[in-house]
C-alpha cells in the first residue's frame, strides 16, 4: 500500500513472471516507454490495451499572475501529456470503492433547492454523512441504499413531525462518528474506507474549525435545533405537498411505465423497419428514374442557360409536368418490378398491428411522401440528390444553407466555397450572409482548381479564403 515502485522493481516482477533475464526485462521496459515517448513526439496518439491512451495535447497560451510578486505573466502555448486510463484498469483500481453507488439524497426539506437559503446546506450535509458512514462502520458491502430506505419511507408521511427526524439524524451522526474509532483497526481489509473516514473527519473539522470534537457536536446540534424551529412551519407545508405529489408520481411511473415502455419500444421498432424499407425502395426507384431521365435533364440544363427570364418559367413548368409524368410512371414500374407492395397492402398489414391508427397513418405518409416528392420535385433540384451531378446546378438559398455546406455537398470540401462566391459575385455581396432566396449557379468544378483529394487545391482555396475574408 502506497509503496513507490521503481523501474527496477517492475523489471524484477517481469523477469519473475515472464521467465526472462533481469537485464532483458529492464531493457524491455525501457524500450516500452521509449517507444511511447517517441510515438508521442511524432504526434501520434498511443493506445495500449490494458493500460490506456497517451496523447499530446496543446495548451493554448494564457495569462496568469505570478503568485509571489503579483505580476502578470504570459504562459506560452505548450504541450502536455494526457493519460486516459483503460476501462479495465479503472475498474481494478477502483475495486475498494466499487460497491458504492451514487445515492439520491433524501432531502428533508423537499426538493426546493432554489428556495432554500445557503445556510441549509450544512445541516443537510451533516445528516447525509452518517448515511454514508453506516456501511463502513457496521459491515462493508452493505449497500448504502438499504440504510437509506427507512428514512425514505418515512419522509412522505406527513404525520411524523420534522423535529423528530432531525433529532434522529443527529443522533445517528453522533453514534456513527464515535463508533468508527473503536471498530477501525479491527478490519484491515477496509483500509481505504478507514482512510477516507479519517480524511473526512479531518476535512469536516477543518471546515467547521472547532477546538474540540465535543464542542463541534454541540454547535451542530444547536444549529440544527435552531434550523428546525425556524423551518418547522415551512416543513409542514412542504410535507403536505410531498404527500400529495409523491404517491401520484410513483403510481404513474411504476405501473404506467412498465407497460407503456414495451408498447413504445414495439411501435418504434415497427416504424423503424418500415422507414428503412421505404427509404430503400425510394432509392431504388430514384436510381432507375435517374437513368431514364438523364436525357431530359440534359435538355433542361441546356435550356436554363440559354432561355431568357420570361420564357424561363414556362419552360420550367413544362419540364416539371413532363418530369412528374415520367416520375410517376417510373415509380409504378419500379414498384411492380421490384415486387414492392402497394400502399393498400401495407395498410392492410398495418391493421394487424396493435396501434392501428398511428402506424397506418405513419406508413401511408411515409409511402406517400417519397412518391409525391419525386413526382413534384422540379427538375432543377433533381441532380443535386444523386451522386452523378449534372453541372451547372442552380440552387436557391434556403434556410440554413451556407456556402460552405453547399461546396461540401457539390465539390466535396468546405474550403471550395470561395469559388462559389467568386462565380456568383454579382448576386452575393457578403459571403457570410447570403440572403434567403438568392439563386446561385454552381458551375462544373474545374479538376485543376477544385479537387477535394488534392491537398494543394484545398490549400489554395484556403489561401483565397483568407484573402477574401480580409477584404471584407
Amino acid at each position: 500500500m502506497n509503496k513507490k515502485l521503481l523501474l527496477q522493481d517492475l523489471a524484477d516482477l517481469l523477469s519473475d513472471s515472464g521467465k526472462i533475464k533481469k537485464k532483458e526485462a529492464e531493457e524491455f521496459i525501457k524500450v516500452f516507454f521509449k517507444v511511447i515517448e517517441n510515438a508521442l513526439f511524432e504526434g501520434d496518439v498511443v493506445k495500449i490495451q490494458g493500460l490506456g491512451t497517451f496523447k499530446l495535447m496543446q495548451v493554448e497560451s494564457r495569462k496568469s499572475v505570478n503568485v509571489s510578486t503579483g505580476e502578470e505573466i504570459n504562459i506560452k502555448e505548450h504541450y502536455k501529456i494526457t493519460y486516459t486510463p483503460d476501462v479495465t484498469l479503472k475498474d481494478i483500481v477502483n475495486k475498494p470503492f466499487s460497491h458504492l453507488e451514487p445515492v439520491e439524497l433524501n432531502n428533508p426539506f423537499g426538493n426546493k433547492a432554489t428556495e432554500s437559503k445557503p445556510e441549509i446546506r450544512r445541516p443537510e450535509k451533516l445528516t447525509t454523512n452518517p448515511e454514508k458512514e453506516t456501511p463502513v462502520a457496521n459491515k462493508i458491502i452493505q449497500p448504502t441504499k438499504i440504510t437509506l430506505q427507512p428514512e425514505r419511507t418515512t419522509s412522505p408521511e406527513p404525520k411524523i413531525p420534522p423535529v423528530k427526524k432531525e433529532t434522529v439524524a443527529s443522533d445517528k451522526y453522533e453514534r456513527k462518528t464515535t463508533t468508527p474509532q473503536n471498530n477501525q483497526y479491527k478490519s484491515p481489509e477496509e483500509r481505504y474506507k478507514e482512510e477516507r473516514n479519517k480524511e473526512n473527519r479531518n476535512l469536516k473539522e477543518a471546515r467547521e474549525e472547532p477546538p474540540a470534537f465535543k464542542s463541534r457536536q454541540e454547535r451542530i446540534d444547536e444549529r440544527e435545533r435552531r434550523q428546525t424551529e425556524r423551518r418547522s412551519n415551512e416543513e409542514k407545508l412542504d410535507n403536505r405537498k410531498e404527500a400529495e405529489h409523491k404517491p401520484v408520481k410513483k403510481a404513474t411511473s411504476k405501473s404506467g411505465s412498465n407497460k407503456g415502455r414495451g408498447i413504445v419500444i414495439f411501435v418504434c421498432l415497427v416504424l423503424l423497419i418500415f422507414g428503412v424499407w421505404a427509404l430503400i425502395s425510394t432509392r431504388q426507384a430514384n436510381q432507375e428514374k435517374e437513368s431514364k431521365l438523364k436525357s431530359v435533364q440534359a435538355i433542361d440544363s441546356a435550356i436554363y442557360e440559354n432561355v431568357p427570364d420570361k420564357e424561363f418559367e414556362s419552360v420550367i413548368e413544362d419540364s416539371v409536368k413532363l418530369e412528374a409524368e415520367i416520375a410517376a410512371k417510373v415509380e409504378s414500374m419500379a414498384m411492380t418490378e421490384k415486387g414492392i407492395k402497394p400502399a393498400a397492402v401495407i395498410a392492410k398489414e398495418a391493421k394487424k398491428a396493435p396501434l392501428q391508427s398511428q402506424i397506418k397513418a405513419k406508413i401511408q405518409t411515409s409511402v406517400a411522401a417519397p412518391v409525391s416528392k419525386t413526382a413534384t420535385q422540379p427538375a432543377v433540384k433533381e441532380p443535386a440528390k444523386d451522386s452523378g451531378i449534372n453541372f451547372p446546378v442552380y440552387k436557391t438559398m434556403g434556410k440554413g444553407d451556407m456556402l460552405t455546406v453547399i461546396s461540401l455537398k457539390y465539390y466535396g470540401h468546405k474550403a471550395f466555397w470561395v469559388y462559389l462566391y467568386l462565380d456568383n459575385k454579382n448576386v452575393i455581396t457578403d459571403p457570410n450572409h447570403v440572403p434567403l432566396g438568392t439563386r446561385i449557379r454552381i458551375a462544373r468544378p474545374d479538376p485543376s482548381r477544385i479537387n477535394a483529394k488534392d491537398p494543394n487545391c484545398v490549400a489554395r482555396a484556403k489561401a483565397l479564403q483568407t484573402k477574401i475574408l480580409s477584404q471584407q
Partner: protein, 117 residues
C-alpha cells in the same frame, strides 16, 4: 467569417485524430523492431507488463519510471452533484482513479518540443 474558420478547423482536427492513432498492434510491432524479438514474445511481454502495472496500481502502489513519469492512484473525493434538469441531489461516492504524471526529464522534453514548434 468565423464560421468558415471553425469549419476548416474542425475538418483539420478530425482528420488528424483519425489518422494518427497508434494502436496496440503497431505498438507491439515497434517494440519488436527495437528489440529484435519474435512477434509473439513481444506481444506477450507487452501484455505481461500492462498486467503487472495494473496489479501494482490495483494494490494502491505507484510506479515511477525514470525518464518517463509516474503512474499513481488518485482519490476523487465524494461529492454532491445536482441534476440540473430535475434539481435532484445525488451523492457521488469517492473513487480511485489511475493517473499519470510526467517526470522531470519528460517535462523538459515537452518544453523543448513546444519551443521548437
Amino acid at each position: 467569417m468565423q464560421v468558415c474558420y471553425i469549419f476548416v478547423n474542425i475538418a483539420a482536427h478530425s482528420t488528424l485524430l483519425i489518422e494518427l492513432i497508434l494502436k496496440n498492434k503497431d505498438f507491439v510491432q515497434k517494440i519488436q523492431q527495437n528489440l529484435t524479438l519474435n512477434g509473439d514474445k513481444a506481444a506477450d511481454l507487452v501484455e505481461l507488463t500492462t498486467s503487472l502495472i495494473t496489479d501494482i496500481l490495483g494494490d494502491g502502489d505507484s510506479l515511477a519510471i525514470k525518464g518517463f513519469g509516474t503512474f499513481e492512484v488518485k482519490k476523487k473525493e465524494e461529492r454532491v452533484s445536482v441534476n440540473p434538469a430535475t434539481g435532484n441531489r445525488w451523492m457521488i461516492p469517492p473513487k480511485l482513479v489511475p493517473g499519470f504524471k510526467p517526470g522531470s526529464t519528460m517535462k523538459e522534453k515537452l518544453k523543448q518540443y513546444s519551443g521548437n514548434e
